[in-house]
Amino acid sequence: MTEICLSAKDLVMRFGGLTAIDTVSWTLHKDEILGIIGPNGAGKTTIFNVVSGLYTPTSGEINFKGTVINGYAPHVIAKMGIKRTFQQSRLFDNISVLDNVLVGMATLSKGILFKSILARKRLASELSEDIDKCLEILSHFSPFLAENPYRRAGDLVPGERRKLEICRALASDPDVLLLDEPAAGMDPNESAELMEDILKIRELRKGIGIILIEHDMAVVQKTADYNIVLSYGKEIARGTFLEVSSNPLVQEAYLGSEAENA
């Protein structure tokens, strides 16, 4: 069995009377892709918000490389090595493609104010290295972005936006990558390309663990090694895609029960 990189135990997230996540647990191993699926409102994105530090879980614990990271600030969690993308890709629209990826490397830079005024030579050489690294990442996922690094991020088409977001998240070489519905709004060709990209991440970054939230069943089927199915915040099934897709509870959650349909 490979090493565990991120695990959650009995995670609960409540907003007032609403329980968005109800005692969910999982373990993510290195080089593994974990799929989280479930109908709308099942609490999938809430899980990401909790793991990335935007929400503090009501109870339960998230364990990352031996540290319980509940309640850590998002930038600290990012620095530790957990990066994410967003459902509606949240790029920095008014800055360039290159700058977006450079911000993704924020966790690696130190003492920038001091250097910006008093150690400008060192800063310039560091920046130059960083830019080369950004361009390399971009070239793996999209030759177009690598050739147009000064394009305004807000002018990109949705497919390129998604790729840029993945590049931004990968820029700091994270140990865990959280992908929030990367195939949302994509046509079959684009999602096929996306599947390749996701598998490519695993090839390029040895030892990375990926959690994938997805609606597009084809994407989950092709990429995820293991799946958890959520419905109303509760786990209703887990296993390989074949196992969960044949589970009657899962079918009921997606299609409704026979009694309701009748």
Binding site: L54, F86, F92, L127, N148, Y150, D155
Partner: protein
């Protein structure tokens, strides 16, 4: 073969001198507008300036030529600008009031550069910026009048205390966003104004009088220089003095803007949550923007206090805050050159309209309105950062530049 080569060279050299020559023309026009009282001259120069401006913004060929020339002639352009800035006050020996306007413009540039870090780069709507300006001015004035400290200690203390104040103001705004943040900043501006008005040691509404002039190695800036048999007004001394600070402020702002600090400021402005999840400590960046902006305001406040020699709370009210905000928005948010130009125009314009008496703010308002109609994103727009030595074909860089 040879002749075509020659032709190319000639064209090349024509391009080389183009922007510095243009800059001289613009400086001459601005000089005439600022220095001449005759309205016919002023209007003529304004019309010429507007003509140049429209040629630049409406004829693509002219724009391309100037952009190209600006890229190759950076050093020459800078030298021309600085030389002009150095020579101009010497020609205004008999018009100290015009030099006074220029000094106020320079101080405004420092102020606007500071506010730009908050409003332009980081997207913090600060409507109480004059409070930082006031804290700097009062700190410096009190230290030098009550404790008798030298100007140099006072101005550094003014910058630092103002930065500390900015940091403190920043803390409660961390929890707020957009309109709420603007409200918090207004509240702080008002609180500071009221405190300055009501506390004993600040002199209340009477302010502080007799603030001593700065001294350089025992030589007071209030003593006029005699050069080649001409006596120059003391404003000339101050002009050069403030010019040094303005250039320093500009250089430091540029350093910060071009570094990753500036980039992370932008990330906070664009999308705070995405910035956080990318690993940017957004609270720290916002506090830094407050502190850096307030530091510059403190320096500007100290310069103002020691130049005018008298300050009162009225100099630092809401009106001042809005005026500086106008400079940043009109000049071009997040563009240091644009902000400088905006600050210059909006500090000179009210002085030029002094003859209109009560209507002068109306005229200033009209200028802002016209600018916002013709250049809605500021005189010089926010640019895509292009890194030195990292050019990927000219088309790409240009595509990034122009976004109408």
């Amino acid at each position: 073969m040879e002749s075509s080569n020659l032709g190319k060279n000639a064209r090349f050299s024509l391009k080389r001198g183009l922007t510095p020559a243009l800059l001289l023309v613009i400086i001459a026009l601005v000089y005439a507008i600022v220095a001449y009282e005759n309205w016919a001259v002023v209007l003529l120069c304004l019309a010429a300036g507007a003509g140049l401006f429209f040629a630049y913004s409406r004829v693509p060929a002219v724009k391309a030529l100037i952009t190209e020339s600006m890229r190759t002639d950076k050093v020459l352009l800078l030298v021309t600008g600085i030389l002009a800035a150095l020579v101009i006050p010497l020609t205004l020996r008999t018009q100290p009031y015009v030099i006074h306007i220029l000094i106020i413009a320079l101080i405004s540039i420092i102020l606007a550069l500071g506010l730009n870090f908050q409003v332009g780069s980081t997207g913090i709507p600060n409507l109480g910026y004059a409070a930082f300006y006031g804290v700097g001015a009062y700190t410096s004035a009190l230290l030098s009048t009550k404790l008798g400290l030298s100007f140099w200690i006072s101005i550094i203390a003014a910058g630092c205390i103002s930065a500390l104040f900015g940091w403190l103001v920043g803390l409660p705004t961390l929890k707020t966003r957009s309109y709420h943040m603007a409200l918090v900043s207004i509240a702080f501006g008002l609180v500071t104004y009221i405190m300055l008005n009501n506390m004993g040691f600040t002199g209340g509404p009477n302010g502080i009088k007799n603030i001593p002039a700065p001294e350089i190695f025992g030589w007071s800036l209030f003593s006029s220089i005699r050069l080649f048999g001409n006596t120059y007004p003391i404003q000339v001394n101050f002009y050069y003095f403030v010019l040094i600070f303005a250039i320093l402020a500009f250089v430091v702002s540029r350093f910060i803007f071009n570094s990753k600090v500036g980039l992370y400021f932008n990330a906070v402005r664009e999308d705070e949550i995405a910035a956080k999840c990318s690993g940017v400590n957004t609270s720290k960046m916002k506090l830094l923007a407050f502190a850096v902006g307030a530091f510059l305001a403190g320096i500007a406040g100290s310069l103002y206090a020691h130049y005018i020699g008298y300050i009162s709370p009225e100099n630092f009210n809401m009106n001042t805050s809005l005026q500086i905000l106008g400079m940043v928005i009109m000049g071009g948010m997040d563009n240091i050159v644009g902000v400088g130009i905006g600050a210059f125009i909006l500090s000179v314009a009210p002085e030029k309209f002094r003859s209109l008496a009560d209507f002068r703010m109306l005229a200033t308002g009209l200028i802002i309105l016209l600018m916002l109609i013709f250049r809605p994103s500021g005189i010089v727009k926010q640019q895509i950062r292009v890194y030195a030595g990292k050019i990927f074909g000219k088309e790409n860089a240009l595509k990034g530049d122009n976004h109408d």
